[in-house]
C-alpha cells in the first residue's frame, strides 16, 4: 500500500497528477525563495553589465525593475490556473497546440532554453578558477570543464533528492545571496565616487539617438524575464493560494532577479572606472574592491548560487518533460537533462554561441506566452476540459489534426516572424521603427495575441478550437 502511495505522491510532485489543495506545500515565502533562488545566478551579472553598455545607470535601474515587472505581471497571469487545478501549464497547453504539438514545443523549448544552464555551469567554473587564482593556485585548462560538470552534477543531485532538498537549499542560499547583493552594492558605491555610478552614461557614437539603446535595454529586460515562461508553473502549482503562486513568480524574478541585474551593473561600472575595462565576473570585482575575508565568502556564495539555479532548473524542466513523456521517470529525465548540459560543457563553446541560442529562444517565448494568456483569459475564459487535457480515454477535444492544433502552431510561427521582421538580432538592424517602439518581444506578444483572438472569432476556426465546450466540468 505504501508503495502505491509513494508512487502516487511521486507522480503528483514529479509528474503530471493534479495536486490537490490538501497536498500543497508552499506558502508565498517558500515559493518566493525557491523562485528567487532560480533567478539569482551569475547570469544576472552578465545581464547587468550588458545593460550598462546600452544605457545610463538611472535608465538601467528603471528598465531592470519596471520593465521586468511589467512583462512578468502580464505573462505570468495564467499561473493562477496552475495553482487552481494543481497542474503544469504544459497540460493546459494541449488546448493550444494539441497533444503531439505540445510534445514538439516542449522539446524545442528544452533544446533552446537549457543552454542557459551550461552558461551557468561555465560561470561557476570561471568563478571557482578565479577564486583559486586569488590564492595563487593556477588550475590547468581542463579543470574548467571539470568544475563546470561539477556544478551540473551537484545541481542535478539536489534535484534528484527532491523538493525537500530544493526548498532547504533555497531557504539557506537566497537570504544569504540577498544580503550579499546589498553588501556588494554598498561596496560598489563606496569604492568609487557616488556620482560615477549614479551619473554613469555609456560611450555612444556621436549623433546616435538615445531612444534606440533605451528600447534595446527594455527589450533585453523583457527577453530576460520571459525566458521563464516554459517553467513558470511547476513551483506555483504547489502553492496554497492563487495569489501566493502568482506573486511569488512575479516578485521572485521581478525584484530578486532584477536586484542582482542592477548589482551586476554597479560592479561593471565601478570596475570600468577603476581599471578602464568593464567586467561581468563578480569574482574579479569583489576581489578588487572587497576585504579578503568578505571577498572569499561572497565569492563562494555567488558560485554556489549557480548550483541552486541548476537544481531548481533541473526540477522545473524535468517535470515539464514528464508532462510530454509520461512513461519516463522524473529522475531519468533530470539525468538526461544533466547529460545534455554536460555535453554542452564539454563542447566548451556555449558562451561563444550563446547569442544565437538567445536569438532563437527570444523569438519563441513571446508568442508562447501570448498564446497561453489569450487562450486562458479571452478564448476559453478560464474554462477547459481537464479530462481532455489529460488525454484520458474517450476525451478527445484537444486531439485536433493528428495531435497538432494547426491554428496554435501557425500563431506561434507568426509571432516569431513578427519579432524577426521588426528587428534582426544578429545584424542588430531595425526593420520597422514604429513597431520597434513596442520592443520586438512586446510587439510579438501583442501581435500573436491579436492574431490568435481574431482567428478564434472565425466560426469554422472557433468550432475547431472549442470542441471542449460540451465537457466542461470544473
Amino acid at each position: 500500500m505504501n508503495n502505491v502511495n509513494d508512487q502516487t505522491e511521486r507522480e503528483a510532485f514529479f509528474g503530471t497528477l493534479p495536486i490537490m489543495r490538501k497536498d500543497r506545500i508552499y506558502g508565498f515565502l517558500d515559493a518566493l525563495l525557491v523562485l528567487s533562488g532560480y533567478c539569482i545566478a551569475t547570469w544576472s551579472y552578465t545581464q547587468g553589465s550588458y545593460l550598462a553598455t546600452l544605457v545610463g545607470f538611472r535608465q538601467l535601474l528603471i528598465g531592470a525593475f519596471f520593465g521586468a515587472l511589467l512583462m512578468l505581471i502580464i505573462y505570468q497571469l495564467p499561473v493562477i490556473l496552475s495553482v487552481r487545478y494543481g497542474i503544469d501549464i504544459w497540460i493546459w497547453l494541449r488546448t493550444v497546440f494539441g497533444g503531439k504539438g505540445t510534445v514538439l514545443v516542449t522539446v524545442v523549448i528544452i533544446i533552446i532554453n537549457y543552454p542557459w544552464y551550461a552558461v551557468c555551469a561555465d560561470l561557476f567554473a570561471s568563478s571557482m578558477g578565479n577564486l583559486c587564482g586569488l590564492f595563487g593556485l593556477e588550475l590547468p585548462e581542463a579543470a574548467h570543464t571539470v568544475l563546470a560538470i561539477l556544478c551540473v552534477v551537484l545541481g542535478t543531485l539536489i534535484a534528484y533528492r527532491g523538493l525537500g532538498a530544493i526548498t532547504w537549499t533555497t531557504r539557506v542560499l537566497v537570504p544569504l545571496l540577498l544580503i550579499l547583493g546589498a553588501v556588494v552594492t554598498v561596496i560598489g558605491f563606496v569604492s568609487v565616487p557616488f556620482d560615477v555610478i549614479w551619473e554613469f552614461q555609456p560611450e555612444r557614437p556621436e549623433g546616435e539617438p538615445n531612444i534606440i539603446p533605451y528600447i534595446m535595454s527594455v527589450e533585453a529586460n523583457f527577453a530576460f524575464v520571459i525566458t521563464l515562461v516554459g517553467g513558470m508553473a511547476e513551483v506555483p502549482r504547489l502553492c496554497k493560494t492563487e495569489r501566493s503562486g502568482y506573486w511569488a513568480g512575479v516578485l521572485g524574478q521581478g525584484l530578486a532577479g532584477s536586484f542582482f541585474v542592477v548589482v551586476g551593473a554597479v560592479m561593471a561600472i565601478a570596475t570600468q572606472y577603476v581599471t578602464g575595462e568593464m567586467t561581468d565576473d563578480p569574482t574579479l570585482m569583489l576581489a578588487m574592491f572587497s576585504v579578503p575575508a568578505l571577498a572569499l565568502s561572497s565569492l563562494m556564495l555567488v558560485a554556489f548560487a549557480n548550483i541552486g539555479t541548476q537544481a531548481v532548473g533541473s526540477y522545473i524542466y524535468g517535470v515539464m518533460l514528464k508532462s510530454s513523456f509520461r512513461r519516463a521517470d522524473y529522475r531519468i529525465m533530470i539525468v538526461i537533462l544533466g547529460i545534455y548540459v554536460t555535453l554542452l560543457c564539454i563542447w566548451g563553446k556555449i558562451v561563444e554561441y550563446f547569442g544565437s541560442f538567445l536569438t532563437v529562444s527570444a523569438c519563441i517565448y513571446a508568442p508562447l506566452a501570448a498564446l497561453l494568456f489569450t487562450d486562458f483569459f479571452i478564448v476559453r475564459r478560464q474554462k477547459f476540459s481537464l479530462r481532455s487535457a489529460f488525454m484520458l480515454n474517450g476525451h478527445t477535444a484537444y486531439r485536433f489534426t493528428g495531435g497538432f492544433n494547426i491554428v496554435g502552431l501557425i500563431c506561434l510561427a507568426a509571432g516569431a516572424a513578427i519579432s524577426l521582421l521588426i528587428y534582426d538580432p544578429v545584424s542588430t538592424e531595425i526593420h520597422c521603427m514604429p513597431l520597434f517602439y513596442l520592443t520586438p518581444t512586446g510587439a510579438s506578444f501583442i501581435g500573436t495575441a491579436v492574431l490568435y483572438f481574431a482567428l478564434s472569432r472565425i466560426p469554422a476556426i472557433n468550432r475547431y478550437l472549442m470542441k471542449d465546450r460540451g465537457e466542461l466540468s470544473v
Binding site: T16, P18, E242
Partner: protein
C-alpha cells in the same frame, strides 16, 4: 513505466478530477477582482515609469 502503472495513474487522475468536480471540494483561494486590480495598477505604474525613463 509499464502499462499497468500508466493505467493506475490515469485512474488516479480521473479520481482527482472527480474530486475537483464535487461541490464540496475547496479550490485554493481564488485570485480576486481586487488582485487583478492591484496587478493592473502595478502594470500601469511600471509602464508609466518606462515612459518616464525614455526622457531621462
Amino acid at each position: 513505466m509499464t502499462d499497468t502503472e500508466i493505467k493506475a495513474i490515469d485512474e488516479e487522475t480521473e479520481k482527482r478530477i472527480d474530486e475537483m468536480e464535487n461541490d464540496e471540494y475547496k479550490f485554493p483561494d481564488r485570485f480576486l477582482k481586487k488582485d487583478y486590480e492591484i496587478a493592473a495598477c502595478t502594470a500601469l505604474f511600471c509602464l508609466a515609469m518606462l515612459l518616464i525613463g525614455a526622457f531621462l
